[in-house]
Symmetry: C3
Subunit: 109 residues, 3 copies
């Protein structure tokens, strides 16, 4: 089974669903690529490509996404999804909150 994000600033990741760990990860991603840093992508005085009317500065989210996954592939055996004991599938929003589109596709069988 493939779980696929149609976005470049929202990742699909398998990890543990423990609330304190969510806080650690948010801080960790902010340290890897901070929204406070300078990104050419956020410089709307220079940039001309892919500009939308509601464009927001999100260079940090693209850089975080570069080290994360657009999709995860999870085996199904005898109709059972093979998630391990602690594994949960997350859509990780790296940009501002908004509606997102995810595709789930099952192959084989």
């Amino acid at each position: 089974m493939v779980v696929y994000s149609k976005h470049t600033t929202a990742a699909i990741k398998i990890n543990e669903n423990e609330p304190l760990l969510m806080k650690d990860m948010e801080r960790f991603l902010g340290r890897i690529a901070s929204s406070e840093d300078y990104y050419h992508h956020n410089d709307f005085t220079l940039r001309t490509v892919n500009m939308t009317e509601d464009e927001c500065p999100n260079g940090h989210a693209h850089c975080q996404h570069l080290l994360m996954s657009t999709s995860e592939t999870i085996p199904i055996i005898d109709g059972e999804l093979q998630l391990g004991r602690w594994q949960r599938v997350f859509l990780v929003e790296l940009d501002r909150p908004r509606s997102r589109e995810v595709i789930i596709q099952v192959l084989g069988g």
Copy 2:
């Protein structure tokens, strides 16, 4: 072919199997997310969720895993696994040594 780890602190990664590079990667991952840093996930005075009897502090391993892969997908063509010259498939243990479960699934054909 999909190689899948059933764990949240043990990744599947393709890279080169060169012993000195293994040392570089271990140091690199420790720099990205050090086991010496503070993680809420490791704070057993606060944490109540997903606690086991042999719980060990492993917040760093979850953060490292967040930037790595739970699985790798490798094409098979005419029955031959299409690994490149230097490509080898690793189970990367990010937490303490222990027994781990990996699923290998072949699709199509």
Copy 3:
């Protein structure tokens, strides 16, 4: 559909194709694992394994690759590749420029 790189220093990644963002990402990857840092893998006085005649120091490229993807899997529905509005598939060269081999495999149907 699977897009697969046969290399350990060239990743396949989905992200946005915006020229200024390419500059941000190049700088970002250089900050994550700089080519100026020391890597045992680059120490040709010590290293004996996987040495080729034209060996170049590329420890940084292997470390960057460790946090990126060897492949991306993209769903096809009714014959249409399900790339989102801003999603484009990149071969990310992490080492020196050269010819690279990529496999594209379609499963199911």
